[in-house]
Each structure stands twice: as C-alpha cells, then as structure tokens.
Amino acid sequence: MQMNRRQFFKICSAGLGGSSIAVMGFSPTAALAEVRTFKLARATETRNICPYCSVSCGVLIYSTGDKSKNSQGEIIHIEGDPDNPVNRGTLCPKGAGLRDMVQSANRLKWPEVREAGSNEWKRISWNEAIERIAKHMKADRDKNFVAQNKDGVTVNRWPTTGFLASSAASNEAGYLTVKTLRALGITALDTQARI
C-alpha cells in the first residue's frame, strides 16, 4: 500500500526532453549550453529507510522502469526523504553510498555449501540447501534435546545449536525468527544489540 508517492518527477521529464532535442535538431554543432538531462525523470520512486545506523534515515530509492512486468527494476540513485522528520532529506556518507552496497560485487546470489575440509564453495539448489540444513537440525535436536534437567524440572530446551540474529533485519523477520526458534527450543540465541 503506497501512500502519497511524490509525482512531480514525472511531468518535468517531457519538458526537458523536448527542448534539448529541438535545439540539437536545428544546429548541427553541439547545443550552445545544454545541461545533463535530469537523471530521475520517469524513474520509479520508493520510500524506504537506510539499514545502517539507528537514526533510521528516510530514503527515496529511484529505480528504472515503472514496475511493469517485463522490465526488471534496477536502482539508479538513492537520496534522502525530505519528509522524514529525523533526517529531513539529509544522508551521511554511508547512507548516501547505499547504492554501491546494494549492487556490491560481493552480493550473494545462489545458495552455496562448503563441504567439510574443502577450500571452495559449491553452488546448490534451494531445495538441497533447506533439505540438508533441516536434516542437520533435526539430527542435532533429536540427539541433544533436554526435556528435563537433573532436578526433574521440565525445561524442553535444545542447547546445542546457536543462532545469532541480525539487528539489520526488519521487525517482522525478527519476530518470525524468534517465534520459530522458541518453538524449536533454542536457548543459545543472541543479537548484535549486545556487542
């Protein structure tokens, strides 16, 4: 549900394109003084929040295409959200450089596994990855589940698999993670908030 998206970039593109082309058309030599066409004309604008520090600056993400089915949107620019009351359109050097992180050469694209003792990754399918991880989890849980402690108190914990949760994950992902892990009985659970 997208509320009050900012529309004004849409109209200004037509004006600019027309004038410069007209001038180009007339004089064979370069136009007298034409500036770079405004990069964001007709770009799709999405409101989001910078994932880095806890100021949680509002950002406007500009991506190619208009979310039509056949064009895969690609981020071309990220700048501050002028309406966000905390950053009012400003960004720090990290937030202003978000695009390079989203499009970093080190982005992971496929599930991979490093077999015991090996020195490189092997690409695997999602099914195989989930299958093998779940097998590991079930084997470990069944083997090391502690129903009662030595004093006979029901404890139902699975202490031998740990989980470090990301403080950059959204609340919904965090909530689903903690709900699932508590159901599995995991007690070795922590997050970046501590360090």
């Binding site: 600019l16 370069a30 500036v35 405004f38 359109g89 400003t90 960004l91 050097p93 450089g97 390079d100």
Partner: protein, 295 residues
C-alpha cells in the same frame, strides 16, 4: 531557473556575447565550516549522483581520502589540525570549484563553448566542446579543474547544474547531515552567513567571517570561516585569490592587438611590394655579366 541557451552569461573562447536575455536569480552554495563534521557525505553524494567512481586508493597517514581532487572526485574534504594559543582545532574544509563570478578557467579556455557561465552563476564544463588542453587548470586561482587521463577532458564540480535546472538543490547540499552546506539565492546565503558569523563571534571566534573573495568578483560557493583573517589555516585556502596577472595579461587585450599586428605585417608587406615595387636585378649588372660571357 531552467538552464537553456538563453541563460548564458559567458561562454569560453567566444568573443561575441552569448544569448543572455533571461534574468534568473543568482544561486550560491554556502559552506559553514563551523558546522561541518568532515563526514564526507557530500563526497559520496556527489560521486553517486554523477555516476563517477574514483580508485580505491591508499591511506597515506591522514583522514583525507581521496587525497586530492581528481577527475572523478569533484569535491574532497581537507583536514588540518591547528593548535593556536593552546586550543586545538580540527579545521575541515570541503574543497571544490568556487564557481567564481569572474572564472579564471573560462578566461583561459581556448575552446569555444567548453566552459559556460550561466546567468545563475554556475560555471559548468561541457566536455563535448573541451579539447583537453589544460589551460583551465592554469587559469583557476583555486587549482580545481582536473584533466581525465581516460578521455583528456576537464572535470570539476558542476554545482549540480542538472539538478538546479529542475529546481532541485545540489546533491551535496541535500545530503549534508548537519546543514553545514546551504543553497539558495546568493542574497539569502549572505544573510544566513551573517547570522552564523554573529553566532560564532558570540562563541569567541571574533575573527569569524564570510569568505567571498572579491579578487575573483565574488564566488557562488562561499565559506563561513571561524578564522576569516587566516583562510590559509584551512589546508591552503588562498588568502586573496585572483586570476593570475599572467593569465589576465595573456588572455586579455594583448591577443586581439597581437592579431592586428600580424595582419599589419602581412598587409604592410603587400603594400610595400605595391608601392616600392620588387627588388629587381639591375639591367647594367645583367649586361656586365653577359659581356663577361662573350669574352
């Protein structure tokens, strides 16, 4: 203030006036060094907006990265640690094009239309007309333009002429977290600077002031400095910058005169020939020679 061909105040290597019918407001960027925390958000925003990336260089023992302006870094932060009357100050200055009212680069540039000064004060490089000679580097009193090794074109801060053309603030201005960089009409920026200067004076910086050097006719990028009497403290900000007399001399009136002089020599020769006639070999000597042949 859309920038089209009717908003040009000056055009490099163009002796006839550029079309400048429109009167638009003069914009200015004010860099309030006293509120600047040297975070380099402006550097990142500039690179990201203009789709240029510098090399990932080395740390040479200072916070300045990249160490200098380059064809890909159109603005860089310069850090200088100053200790005066046992008060330590960390003076950090955002370096980049000052968008002078009387631009040395434009005056020095031999290529028509390579450098444009718009009516709103922005001095912009148009790489399609640039021939890569580097005269702008010599002309600039602030050592700002850089020539790219890849395409031999000159590059510098454009004051986001494309954003300003659609009434947006430059990328660095919008990004600046502490509002150390402000943008608006030059008048508004001067008023804002005056307020900042009074505040600084109250905090004990009695020499605080606005840096808008008259030597280059004032600039469209101005600084509010704690120590306006010592701009050199801020990593070599020139104290009284102006276009070097050598550039002014060579690019001023002498050139047309010299051209006329050459035309004069050429025409002079022609009229000398017409008026004095050629330097013929005299008949007597020709006769003498033939006489000698006959013997």
């Amino acid at each position: 203030m859309a920038l089209q061909s009717l908003d040009i105040k000056q055009r490099s290597a163009t002796t006839t006036p550029a079309p400048q019918a429109r009167q638009t407001i003069e914009v200015a960027k004010l860099i309030d060094v006293s509120a600047c925390i040297g975070c380099k958000a402006c550097q990142v925003a500039c690179m990201e907006w203009n789709d240029v990336r510098d090399e990932v260089g080395h740390n040479v023992g200072v916070y300045d990265n990249p160490a200098d302006l380059t064809e890909n870094s159109w603005t860089v932060m310069r850090f200088s640690e100053v200790e005066q009357n046992n008060k330590l100050e960390w003076l950090i200055r955002k370096d980049g094009c000052m968008h002078c009212a009387d631009p040395g680069c434009l005056k020095a540039c031999p290529a028509p239309g390579a450098i444009i000064q718009y009516a709103n004060g922005i001095v912009d490089f148009h790489q399609e007309n640039c021939i890569g000679c580097g005269y702008c580097v010599s002309g600039c009193p602030f050592n700002v333009p850089r020539i790219s090794k890849k395409d031999s074109k000159a590059y510098k801060c454009t004051l986001c002429s494309d954003r300003v053309a659609v009434n947006q603030a430059p990328a660095c201005v919008k990004a600046c977290p502490t509002g150390a960089i402000q943008f608006g009409s030059k008048e508004d920026m001067k008023d804002y600077a005056a307020k900042r200067v009074t505040d600084l004076k109250e905090r004990g910086f009695d020499k605080a002031g606005l840096y808008d050097p008259a030597g280059v006719g004032g600039t469209h990028v101005m600084y509010v400095l704690h120590h306006a009497d010592q701009p050199n403290l801020y990593s070599g900000l020139p104290v009284n910058p102006s276009i070097s007399p050598l550039v002014a001399l060579w690019k001023g009136a002498t050139k047309p005169l010299a051209t006329l002089a050459l035309a004069g020599v050429a025409l002079g020769s022609l009229f000398h020939y017409v008026m004095k006639g050629p330097n013929e070999v005299s008949k007597e000597i020709e006769a003498e020679v033939e006489k000698e042949d006959a013997q």
